[in-house]
């Protein structure tokens, strides 16, 4: 029904305009793999594609798809495990595993589990995730280990949703990250203000997000999560923070729109946890072109 292009992308410093075709390819992968799966989470996967495009293909993260366990690699922890279709697409396009495998999302025997898993051995996956709030604490543990035990220059990137911030343990993670001055930790919040039941502010407000993180000793960067130069600059700022050892973790509050830029999904929380039908997928793919 859907075929996947064979192209992979290099991870290197780029001009802002170069990210658009990459993000487009990632979004196409998300739509196709979800339509083939018949279940899964479209909204956040599409809404974060620009963040993934810059993080993995803009020379920000240091990784080697030929050597996924490379000991000096930076690590990416997807705490919001349900948006794994975008992570799988990204890893495939980075060359961690064959792009063809995106067809197997959520299928019996697949390495592309409905939520990320370690025991299936998919290269590039750093931890299982799915119960919200846990991944960010794991990222804190990794950053602690890097900064205080191995004393290396590795970085840990972690992405949570905004509804995820309703989980109390995320604030335990924030407390520990601030307390331990984890300037090697970059926490990305996908702030689309959508969750399964509605607007985040209606289900249980987490606002103001910035002040909360500031209170936990974070450097807070609020950006338009669909503006490549803002995304790029914020990651660069984090790297600078780390190099200058500012003694504070960095959080990037990325203002995004669920389902971006697909017209019928755009900013609609109803698209949190459903896939497009074949027909909808074809429309969405056409809109992307």
């Amino acid at each position: 029904m859907f075929e996947f292009e064979k192209v992979t992308f290099e991870n290197k410093p780029r001009e802002s305009w170069e990210f658009k075709p990459i993000a487009k390819e990632l979004r196409k992968d998300v739509i196709k793999s979800l339509a083939l799966a018949g279940s899964g989470h479209s909204g956040g996967s599409l809404g974060t594609a620009d963040l993934f495009a810059v993080l993995f293909f803009g020379g920000i993260m240091r990784y080697d798809p030929q050597n996924p366990k490379w000991e000096q690699r930076d690590r990416f922890v997807l705490s919001a495990g349900h948006i794994c279709p975008i992570l799988y697409a990204t890893l495939a396009r980075a060359g961690f595993f064959p792009v063809e495998e995106l067809k197997t999302l959520r299928k019996l025997g697949s390495r592309l589990q409905g939520h990320p898993a370690l025991d299936v051995g998919l290269p590039g996956i750093e931890t299982a995730a799915g119960s919200l709030g846990q991944g960010i604490s794991i990222a804190v543990g990794m950053a602690l280990s890097d900064k205080y035990l191995d004393k290396n220059d590795r970085r840990v990137f972690a992405l949570t949703g905004d509804g995820e911030l309703q989980e109390g343990s995320t604030w335990e993670a924030a407390m520990a990250a601030g307390n331990y001055k984890l300037d090697n930790l970059c926490w990305i919040v996908d702030n689309n203000d959508c969750q399964i039941d509605g607007r985040v502010r209606d289900v249980m407000s987490i606002y103001p997000i910035e002040k909360k993180f500031e209170a936990f000793n974070f450097e807070v960067l609020t950006i338009d999560g669909h503006n490549y130069s803002e995304i790029y600059d914020s990651f660069k700022k984090f790297i600078q923070n780390h190099e200058q050892k500012i003694g504070r973790p960095t959080v990037i509050i990325a203002k995004t729109k669920m389902g971006y830029p697909i017209s019928f999904m755009f900013d609609k929380y109803e698209w949190h946890g459903i896939p497009p039908t074949e027909e909808q997928a074809l429309i969405a793919l056409k809109e992307l072109e």
Partner: protein, 342 residues
């Protein structure tokens, strides 16, 4: 006759705390995480010796458990310990997904376990965690019988890759094993040979089982086998089945709810492999309460006396004898034994 002699009383938590220091010396990648009660679960020994490898996470057990996973995924061997009610229940979801589903090399210490935590009362008396932990894939679950065995168990769990939980307690309890007593994760040890009834116990109930075996022999001429089944997961199927074959009747004893713990594990093994009558000694599906450890053990039926009477009952069931003629608890032939043995 028991080959074990009472050597004294010592809280099992000392075994845990001392072992961590030994591990710290042996392995530079052993790290310890604390959640505020380090002086209670004696991770304080490690903290004093290796301050650079000790991380205080505060009263945040969910976070501590998952931070430990992040460290394990970075090649460390993290030990996280607090009271069992917090290190098995407060963080249960973290144990399930981040620790066990990841098969992360995280070791959990469950301190202040069981009814013997005493005056703190029901909120702090963990009597359910063995049941929960036993159902988690990849988890290894150890309930050592005394101070020295707790030390051996703690040292042993560092030697394999993967999640493990070691249970220990606050109150001074009998210690009787020696350096020569065999200990291997996953291997139940026959602490006393017998042929009429098999008593399978873990934790502090192992000593009570040895006392019960003595009394059964002295008062009734009944030869009781006593098995220290310190590892609940993986359970030692072979030893348990062999004991059931030899004796034809079984009593289990644990400082835990009668449901889902060691008794449940033994029942699963025997129902599948060699069904025999089983009697279960444990806390009868209720919460604890405040009191001194000895008072609580007596009140909640966690002494040699309940093991003794349960053994008689299991034997009667095996032999198809009517049981209604027996009063199995507080019968006259159970004279009090010296308090310092309990």
């Amino acid at each position: 006759m028991n080959e074990f002699k009472l050597l004294g009383k010592k809280a099992t938590r000392y075994g845990f705390g001392e072992a961590l220091v030994e591990l710290g010396e042996k392995y530079p990648n052993v790290v310890v995480l604390g959640a505020d009660v380090t002086g209670s679960v004696l991770t304080s020994f490690f903290k004093e010796k290796f301050p650079d490898r000790f991380f205080s996470i505060g009263i945040a057990e969910q976070n501590a458990t998952t931070i430990a996973v992040g460290m394990a995924l970075s090649g460390k061997i993290p030990f996280f310990a607090t009271y069992s009610v917090f290190s098995a229940f407060r963080n249960a979801d973290q144990l399930r997904i981040s620790v066990c589903y990841n098969n992360a090399n995280v070791k959990i210490g469950g301190g202040h376990s069981g009814i013997t935590v005493g005056p703190d009362g029901a909120t702090h008396q963990s009597l359910e965690e063995l049941s929960l932990l036993r159902t988690l894939p990849n988890m290894k679950l150890v309930v050592p019988c005394d101070y020295l065995e707790t030390k051996k168990a703690t040292l042993a769990v560092a030697e394999f890759y993967g999640p493990a939980f070691v249970r220990f307690g606050r109150a001074p309890v009998p210690y009787f094993t020696t350096e020569e007593t065999p200990f291997k994760i996953g291997k139940a040890e026959i602490f006393r040979q017998g042929k009429d009834i098999a008593i399978i116990a873990c934790g502090i109930m192992v000593w009570q089982s040895l006392l019960a075996a003595d009394e059964l022999w002295k008062r009734r001429g009944i030869s009781a086998m006593v098995i220290n089944s310190h590892t609940l997961k993986p359970i030692d199927v072979e030893t348990i089945v062999e004991a059931a074959r030899t004796c034809g009747a079984v009593v289990t004893a644990e400082e835990h709810q009668v449901h889902g713990g060691l008794g449940g594990a033994v029942a699963e093994v025997l129902a599948k492999n060699y069904p025999v009558p089983i009697e279960f000694v444990g806390v009868p599906d209720r919460f604890g309460e405040s009191g001194e450890p000895e008072e609580l053990l007596e009140k909640f039926g966690l002494t040699w006396k309940e093991i003794y009477s349960s053994a008689l009952k299991a034997i009667d069931r095996r032999d198809n004898k009517p049981q209604s003629n027996h009063v199995y608890r507080n019968v006259e032939d159970i004279a009090p034994i010296s308090q310092d043995l309990i």
